[in-house]
Symmetry: C2
Subunit: 228 residues, 2 copies
């Protein structure tokens, strides 16, 4: 009795996600959905990216949280457009929430839109928000077994940002093991090792963003958006 209900929810979400993707894609906006556990560093990655690439791209952020507008205030402090969605206890964003949030943004002034999902390695993965690609984050403090234990995100993401590499000397994290598990789930996964605290490794992430944005502007074929 329950399975059809869930399927309908996901089908309705997928339809609305396609609408959101069309609306943003029509403007050439590259849209990325950031998904991770709480505290893996999504907001820190955005703060760094918005600051360092602020002269190159016009960026905006849709922030998802159960409560508070702390994160939207953190990213807005960089000068980027930001809008906060409070799910009031809800465990993920969906495409309809994102569509509502877009009303608060000046989309004509946006090159790249980041959706920062609720901190949760499970539920947000199932809900397409109209993005071009999902970006998975994992902090090395969480352990190298997480791709194996929470496979769906690593299977569906286009990119994995391994964050907090400055903690590597202080935690039991085998980088080779994490990479092996992740690429076994997804052969095409691009992996960046970064520390948002020290700035190490962010250049490669920025270059990837530049390439994605260029491909999006040129019509999307190069980056394989058709399969997004």
């Amino acid at each position: 009795m329950e399975i059809p209900v869930v399927r309908n929810v996901l089908e309705a979400n997928a339809k609305m996600a396609d609408h959101v993707r069309g609306l943003l894609g029509g403007r050439g906006i590259l849209t990325l959905n950031l998904i991770s556990s709480p505290g893996a560093g999504k907001t820190s990655l955005l703060e760094k990216t918005l600051t360092d690439l602020g002269g190159e791209f016009r960026m905006a952020v849709v922030e998802g949280d159960l409560q508070t507008d702390n994160d939207a205030r953190r990213v807005a402090a960089t000068g980027a457009q930001a809008v906060q969605i409070n799910t009031d206890g809800g465990c993920h964003l969906d495409s309809n929430m994102v569509l509502s949030a877009l009303e608060s943004l000046k989309l004509d002034d946006v090159d790249i839109l980041f959706i920062e999902n609720v901190g949760n390695l499970v539920c947000p993965v199932e809900f397409d928000c109209g993005e071009d690609a999902k970006v998975a984050l994992l902090s090395v403090a969480e352990g190298d077994d997480k791709p194996e234990k929470y496979p769906l995100l690593f299977n569906l993401a286009k990119v994995l940002v391994l964050n907090k590499t400055d903690l590597l000397p202080h935690v039991d994290f085998d980088m080779g093991r994490a990479r092996r598990f992740a690429t076994r789930l997804n052969r095409d996964l691009e992996i960046f090792e970064v520390s948002c605290r020290t700035g190490d490794g962010l250049c490669a992430w920025y270059d990837w963003l530049r390439g994605m944005r260029r491909a999006k502007k040129e019509g999307g074929s190069a980056a394989g958006f058709a399969s997004a």
Copy 2:
């Protein structure tokens, strides 16, 4: 249309949870439901506890994971009884899953039962599994803002274990801020600062377990089980 469906799910779960609580309570078993983000250290806390208190109590573990039986194998290596629930993508355990898992345990040989929930700071909080108390874990690598951003768990838990204190010199974590947020949500919250890596602080957690187990054996009134 959707709200009544959710309410029925939670009502059915609550009824089954009371059944589980009765079944375990009738045997004097203290039951604790461990909830945290992925990688906060639930399994590590169990490994330490099962090893250090193995001579004092007969302990068993119900392990919840989306995939793999890695964690059940880790805790079984200490000699404790362990059973793995794979939710196959599901984001939380519920009381019916726990009831099924109990069939694999010799309950006459158990003083303390730990339920290690799926790593998720949101969904597991809503599903009573028949426990006497919820134990929240938070790694200091996740940031001191998590109680404010994910309030329900900290509101409902009886205990907060702040883990990975060995990383404090290397992360931006304000212990006073985390404690303030958490106790604002829950004045009676007991907080233990521990490092499962070094063993620091575990004594206080063990003493709390001893007190809870004693109260449970004596009928449950001292520790306020009536309100669990």
